[in-house]
Symmetry: C3
Subunit: 149 residues, 3 copies
C-alpha cells in the first residue's frame, strides 16, 4: 500500500536580469512560474525579493501603455530632476531611485494554489529598476509550501 | 500518555466581495480572522492577495474620515481625470486604476501569533477596488503555520 | 550513525522602539538579523510587521541624505499641513500619519538564505513612525523556515 503525505519544502534561487538606464520595467512572471512548477509545491507561496535599494517589485498588466503610465506616475511622485540630498553627499545621481524603491518596496509574495501562482489573467510580476545606469540585477525567488509525495 | 506536537498546515480559500464603481474601500478583517480561527494555526501567517490588476490591499484604521483622506491622497498621486496611454490603447477608461494598483500592491502578509492576527487595535485589513465599474472581486486568503495537535 | 534532517520552525517576538514626534525613520536591521541568527533557520523568511495604523516598514540605504529625501517625498504625497477629515472628526491631528501608513504598508518579508537575511549590501530594514507624538512602537518579527538538525 502506498502512503500519500505532504512535505514542507523551501527553496531559493537567484535570477539575474540585465537592465537599461532609466526606469526599466521587466516582466519576470515566467521564470518565477517555472520555479513554482519545478518545486512541485501544491499549496504555498512564492516570495520575490530584490536585494538592492534602487529597484522594486509589484504586479501590473504588462502592456506598454500602462507600464508607461506607471512610470509617469512615479516620475510625479519622485521626479528625476530634483535636488536630492543623497546626490549632494554621494554624487552618484540616483537619489530619486532610492526614494522610489523605498516607496514601492523590495518584496512581493504571491500565493501558490493548486500548484500555480494565484495571479489574475492580466496580472504580471514586474521588476522595476530605477537606477541611472545599466545593471545586472538580482532577484531572489523563494518558493515554500506543501508538496505531495 | 498523550503526545503533543505541532504540524505545519497551509490552506487557501477565495473570498468574494461585491464592489461599487469608483474607489471602494472594504474592511475584510473579519472574514480573514475567521479563516485564521478555523485553521487552528497558533503561530504562522495570513497572506491576503488580490488576483487582478485594478485592486490593492493594505491596512488602515477603518473610519470614514481617514478612508476618505486615503482616497483623496491616491487621487492626487494618480488622478482619475488624466490622459492615460492605457485608455488610449484599450479604451476601457481604467488606466488610473491599473497605476494605483501597481503603486499600492496586491499582497499583504499579517503574522498570526497566539492563534490571532497580530493587528493593532485600530488597524483593519482593507481591499481597495479602483476599477470604474462594479465588480465581483476575489481575494485569496492563505493561512499557513504551526498547529498544535 | 547520525541522521541529518530539517525541521520547520516558526517563532515570533516583539521588538520595541522609542520614537520621536515627526516622521522618524529607524534602522531595525540588526535586531531582525539577530532573531534570524538565534533561530538557526537556514532557508526561510523574516516577516516584519507593525501592529498600528500610523507607521510603516520598508527598506532603504540608511544614510541621512536619502532618509531625508524619502521623508520629503512622503511629505509631498500626504502633506502634514493639509485638512484631513480624520482630524476634523477625531481631533488627534495625525490624519496625515494614517494616510502615509496605508500607502507605504505595515508589512515586509525578507527571504532568509544560507542562514542570513538576503538583503543587499546597502539595504537596511526601516521602521517609519509617522505619528505626531513620541511613541513606544512595537514591531512583530516572525522568522519561519527550515533548520538543520
Amino acid at each position: 500500500m502506498e502512503t500519500k503525505y505532504s512535505v514542507f519544502v523551501c527553496e531559493s534561487c537567484t535570477l539575474s536580469f540585465s537592465t537599461t538606464a532609466g526606469t526599466d520595467v521587466i516582466d519576470i512572471t515566467r521564470p518565477v512560474a517555472e520555479k513554482v512548477a519545478e518545486s512541485g509545491i501544491a499549496e504555498g507561496q512564492a516570495l520575490v525579493f530584490t536585494p538592492g535599494s534602487t529597484a522594486a517589485l509589484t504586479t501590473i498588466e504588462y502592456e506598454s501603455g500602462v507600464v508607461r503610465d506607471l512610470i509617469e506616475a512615479i516620475e510625479r511622485i519622485a521626479p528625476k530632476d530634483m535636488d536630492y540630498r543623497h546626490d549632494a553627499r554621494w554624487g552618484d545621481g540616483n537619489g530619486y531611485a532610492h526614494v522610489r524603491s523605498a516607496l514601492l518596496g523590495p518584496s512581493l509574495t504571491v500565493p501558490i494554489t493548486n500548484g500555480r501562482l494565484a495571479l489574475g489573467t492580466w496580472q504580471q510580476i514586474v521588476l522595476i529598476d530605477f537606477d541611472n545606469r545599466p545593471r545586472k540585477r538580482q532577484v531572489v525567488v523563494q518558493v515554500s509550501g506543501l508538496k505531495s509525495r
